[in-house]
């Protein structure tokens, strides 16, 4: 029996495959397509202390090899989330990682504290959403701001925290080091790349928000490069994401240094992508005679 288990900050996952926040809701919608029990973890859509309405439409548009989104973190707030979404997820034999968003440090702490009393496995702190005007990205683009919020959250969190990093920075390793030195247990990267599309017939922006976050297969080389850089800059584990469509992509991220991998926008294109990635990794291990998936993590130096 091949070992596909990986451990991140003391939490063991049956396999390294997760869902990227915001692309999988809380699993209810894609539970119609895939068996959630087969996933390493479900990483939920961002949840705030109160309901957020999100941005005006259009919120999504297609670009070459990917898409732009500016959803603006529409979510029902932590109370409904715990009562409904968490109850749903607890039926499954998979790890649950909750993505936490906020406008202020207090917002984040409020959500983190409420989740402290639940059996959620880990918290992913969203300091990198490019589509909301306050909070989020403001904490994720300056090393000192990232350091401060990470250490504040760490004081209140009962579960291990993953800081989700933005690629929209000059040097992502500087951000990674700041999060690590502030006590982050793990890092996830990359969030979306800020982009823009103009509708030349309407002479207007394709998105109501003007800019949006780019995701999809077109961003994968950028994400792999950043995972590699960060893996060489910090000691804490990394969850890699950005354009993963299947096992081959996921394995690239792992060889670059990621312990976990997340399927994001490709869920929209192939609703079976997560489970196909799990099965593809097993097949690759069989073919390549790899006994333990941990052997390949960061194997490319």
């Amino acid at each position: 029996m091949k070992n596909t288990k990986v451990t991140i900050a003391g939490v063991e996952f049956k396999n390294p495959v997760m869902t990227a926040s915001g692309t999988f809701g809380s699993g209810m919608e894609y539970g119609e397509f895939v068996d959630l029990n087969k996933l390493g973890a479900v990483v939920t859509k961002g949840v705030a202390s109160v309901p957020w309405p999100g941005n005006p439409t259009p919120r999504v548009t297609e670009v070459y090899g990917g898409m732009l989104n500016a959803i603006g973190l529409q979510n029902p707030g932590i109370d409904v989330f715990i009562e409904r979404d968490l109850k749903f997820l607890q039926q499954f034999d998979t790890r649950v990682i909750v993505n936490v968003c906020g406008k202020t440090t207090e917002d984040y702490i409020d959500v983190v504290e409420k989740l402290g009393d639940t059996n959620v496995d880990m918290l992913e702190i969203n300091v990198s959403c490019p589509n909301v005007k306050e909070g989020a990205i403001a904490f994720g683009q300056k090393a000192d701001a990232l350091y401060n919020i990470t250490s504040e959250i760490k004081k209140h969190a009962k579960q291990p925290i993953i800081m989700k990093l933005s690629p929209n920075v000059t040097d992502i390793t500087e951000m990674a080091r700041a999060a690590e030195s502030a006590g982050a247990d793990a890092l996830s990267l990359i969030n979306t790349l800020t982009g823009m599309k103009i509708d030349i017939y309407k002479r207007n922006f394709a998105l109501a928000n003007k800019t949006g976050g780019m995701s999809g297969p077109a961003i994968k080389p950028v994400a792999v490069r950043m995972v590699y850089q960060v893996a060489n800059a910090v000691k804490i584990p990394i969850i890699g994401m950005g354009g993963i469509a299947g096992a081959e992509d996921a394995l690239e991220f792992m060889m670059a240094g990621a312990t976990g991998v997340a399927v994001g926008a490709m869920n929209f294109i192939n609703p079976y992508a997560t489970v196909e990635t799990v099965e593809g990794i097993e097949k690759f291990m069989e073919q390549q005679n790899i006994n333990d998936i941990n052997e390949i993590i960061g194997c490319v130096k």
């Binding site: 915001g22 692309t23 999988f24 809701g25 209810m28 919608e29 894609y30 119609e32 397509f33 859509k45 309901p51 957020w52 309405p53 999100g54 439409t57 259009p58 919120r59 999504v60 548009t61 297609e62 070459y64 090899g65 990917g66 898409m67 989104n69 959803i71 529409q74 979510n75 029902p76 707030g77 409904v80 999809g216 297969p217 926008a265 869920n267 929209f268 294109i269 192939n270 609703p271 079976y272």
Partner: protein, 258 residues
């Protein structure tokens, strides 16, 4: 509630109905669960265009496991579809959305209203509705499509913007010119038409079920891309933003802020 699937469908036939308007029959197992007002996601083969294209169901043939879609070429994806011929395999996602509540029309006098590329779902609606059916449909000019299909199930009134066929003007002008009335409205079409219908229905005190559209990514309710403003709290996020793909695409007009 049927299970959603992504499956390979096969093109049975395709023809052009009017400039830029194509009519395609697809053989697919998801036809078994389809009903009027629902839609499917159709995936382009060109991998630079990744997202499924949401296209309304024009007709369902359950006996032969076939779905008919009538769509307008609006970009690279639909342009690619328009070249497909019989035997072509096409990935589709479906069936999506809730469709028209045909039970709300039973025994009543209904307007079935379609505008432009909003006409196609009205055909299956006309087939399924069990009531006195008046189809009021609007087109830009004399390039009509699906008129005969509608005539098989409903009395048809036409409006054209240029006045070349039927009433000159829009569907509301056709109602006025023909002095029509109804107890319930079912409609699909451009936003100005749906706004006029919402106002008309409110003035007359009758329910109007309108089918909305918006830019979509997943089509299954996960991404929260295709929301519309609602007058009541939506059940997903509790922020008066319902998901058109899963909570709709058909809404009671008074429940949405359009």
């Amino acid at each position: 509630m049927s299970q959603k699937k992504k499956v390979m469908a096969t093109v049975v036939e395709q023809k052009q109905l009017a400039p830029g308007i194509f009519d395609m029959w697809l053989k697919t197992e998801i036809a078994a669960d389809a009903k009027c007002g629902q839609f499917i996601g159709v995936y382009p083969e060109d991998k630079s265009n990744l997202l499924p294209r949401p296209i309304s169901i024009c007709e369902v043939n359950k006996e032969e496991s076939m779905l008919r879609i009538v769509y307008r070429v609006a970009g690279e994806g639909t342009e690619e579809f328009s070249h497909y011929t019989a035997g072509k395999e096409v990935p589709v996602l479906g069936v999506l959305g809730n469709g028209f509540p045909v039970e709300e029309g039973k025994g009543k006098k209904a307007f079935l209203m379609g505008g432009g590329i909003g006409v196609p779902p009205i055909v299956q609606l006309a087939k399924e509705l069990d009531c006195d059916k008046q189809a009021v449909v609007g087109y830009r000019d004399n390039n009509l499509f699906l008129k005969e299909d509608l005539e098989a199930y409903a009395k048809v009134y036409i409006a054209t913007e240029d006045g070349s066929v039927g009433t000159k003007g829009n569907v509301m002008d056709a109602i006025a010119e023909n002095a029509l009335d109804a107890d319930v409205i079912f409609a699909c079409g451009p936003m100005p038409m749906l706004r006029a219908i919402k106002k008309y229905a409110a003035d007359k005190g009758i329910p109007a079920y309108i089918s909305l559209e918006e830019r979509m990514a997943c089509g299954v309710g996960a991404c929260l891309g295709c929301v519309c403003k609602t007058t009541k709290k939506d059940h997903h996020s509790h922020v008066n933003n319902a998901r058109i793909c899963t909570d709709g695409p058909v809404f009671l007009a008074e429940d949405v802020d359009i």
